[in-house]
Amino acid sequence: MLGHYGWRVLKSPIFARVLFPFTMLALWLVSLDTIEKIWPFAIDVLPTPGEVGRFMWNELITETLARRNLYETFWISLRRLLTGFVIAMVVGTIIGLIMGLFRAANAFFHDWTMVLLAMPALAWALFNSLIFGFGDKGPIITVILAGIPFVIVNVREGVRNTPRELFDMARSYQVPRLKTTRHVLFPSLMPFMFAAARYCFSIGWKGLVIAEVFGGQDGAGWTIKFWYDAHRAHGVVGYAAFFVIFAILFERAVFEPISKRTFRWRPNLAGAEIVEEVFDEENTLEDFASVPSSEMIDDNE
């Protein structure tokens, strides 16, 4: 009936990938129907796909009931995220370098990095909102605290993976310190810095929205809470979709091109712990395996 070609299409993974959203949509519609019929008290509200779609469209054309439109909201959040991100990167790199270079510093900071790594962003979010009140400060500090341990861990790992021989050679040829740093330490640190940036960004984003829910008066987290408090289920679902789109878009539009440019000179990046092409077509799953990398810090004990 279908013919050879038809079967080939049906069996291809790309078709399966396209099928997925439609399956979810069908599941959504079916559950909408069955739950209303069989089990009407099991849920409070279940938004329909139409409602969510209309809501998202209205947001996109900046027709919204919230205080600020979608673009302003995300711009506010992005600004906070970037501020926290830059501070976390700078401070984290310094601490990571010191930890990688000196054994004593490593012993000193190790356990506290672990504590930071495992502390839920919720704790920081609530704590900072109580201490700093509403405003920029609380969310930014949450981003820093959530992101910094990932930077520290990655940079430390990078310093440890710098080939010793190159340093020795630099010393025996009496290359000045600065030059060694520029030409030996930096290039071998780059992939780790990049991984650090990616972790820091995605963890920071997750922490930021929680912080904004509790301690913001604007921003993406605040706005989704706004729809939640207004009891607009379609608003919450729609805004959640924007969150996901934002995270993936940023990854694809910013980190991927930078990574391609920066590492063009390296034919093969085989570092097991380095997360390079997070959303790359082939390696998506493989790379994500190391995302919750509380592992890395333990390896060298």
Binding site: D111, A118, L122
Partner: protein
């Protein structure tokens, strides 16, 4: 005479091994010294800041936190809160683990891998908060809400580890099973799953580290008992000492489970195949 010379020469004749051991002992001593120093320094800074840099009501010091712990303990709130939270984690993450593992095993085939690719991608990229809010608004205070939120946040971590393990399955064994016409169930039961065990365990550990955080978050929004609920109440009442006590209490408990219990189990049962354990 002989004994005397022996005693005299003994200290000078230090073997290489002895030297190495001594160096190691010195190193260990230094490590512990710096480690303990860091505890002292951080706790001292914390204690100093409370009441001086920030008001004590805002930042209670470590001593105050310990006192509060005994207060709460005397009130008998701790066991019931822990029970509520742990039950929720157990149910939610238990289901999530099986779903994640199942999806991971399905993803052996290219077709299913394509099908679930975006699901995994979204689950990993999305902040746990959105699932918490969505399920809270849909299900209200019913127990199913948090369960679904935990599943959606953590299943992908298990899936990712499982599919990582699947990539490392010895191809020759699979080829042999094909040559002998072994069925899908039997192949999965005898080759795939035993091979996957360490990866599943790593998935369990990673998943748990995220699961307990999401669980506490769900309790903040849609629950009337548990650690998250207590945290919300104390933060709304501005009782920072209770807030800090609750979060630290559960934090150390979860850290203990994650780092000590699960890692010990992993070391014990998968020592024989350390080489293939997923990192």
């Amino acid at each position: 005479m002989a004994t005397v010379t022996k005693n005299e020469t003994q200290p000078t004749r230090v073997t290489e091994e002895e030297l190495a051991k001594r160096a190691r002992r010195k190193e260990r001593f230094q490590t512990w010294f710096w480690r303990l120093l860091s505890y002292v320094v951080v706790l001292a800074i914390w204690e100093y800041c409370s009441g001086r840099v920030l008001e004590e009501a805002l930042l209670p010091g470590p001593i105050r936190v310990v006192e509060t712990f005994f207060d709460i303990w005397d009130k008998g709130k701790i066991p019931s809160a822990f029970q509520a939270t742990l039950t929720r984690i157990g149910v939610g993450f238990g289901l999530s683990f099986f779903i994640g593992a199942f999806v991971g095993i399905l993803m052996q085939s290219k077709w299913w891998a394509g099908f679930f690719k975006d699901a995994v991608l979204i689950s990993l990229a999305a902040p746990g908060l959105i699932w918490v809010l969505i399920t809270a608004i849909i299900f209200g205070n019913r127990a199913i809400g948090p369960t679904i939120a935990i599943i959606l946040t953590t299943f992908a971590l298990v899936t990712v580890n499982v599919s990582e393990g699947i990539k490392a399955i010895p191809k020759d064994l699979l080829g042999m099973s094909r040559a002998f016409h072994i069925g899908v169930v039997k192949r999965n039961r005898h080759i795939v799953i035993p091979h996957l065990a360490p990866y599943l365990f790593t998935g369990l550990r990673f998943g748990f580290s995220i699961a307990w955080k999401v669980t506490v978050l769900t309790e903040v929004f849609s629950s009337s008992k548990g650690i998250g609920f207590e945290m919300r109440i104390s933060s709304q009442l501005f009782q920072m000492d209770e807030f800090l006590t609750w979060i630290l209490l559960f934090f150390f408990f979860a850290l203990f489970l994650e780092k000590v219990v699960l890692e010990a189990i992993e070391k014990r049962y998968f020592r024989w195949r350390q080489a293939v354990t997923a990192s």
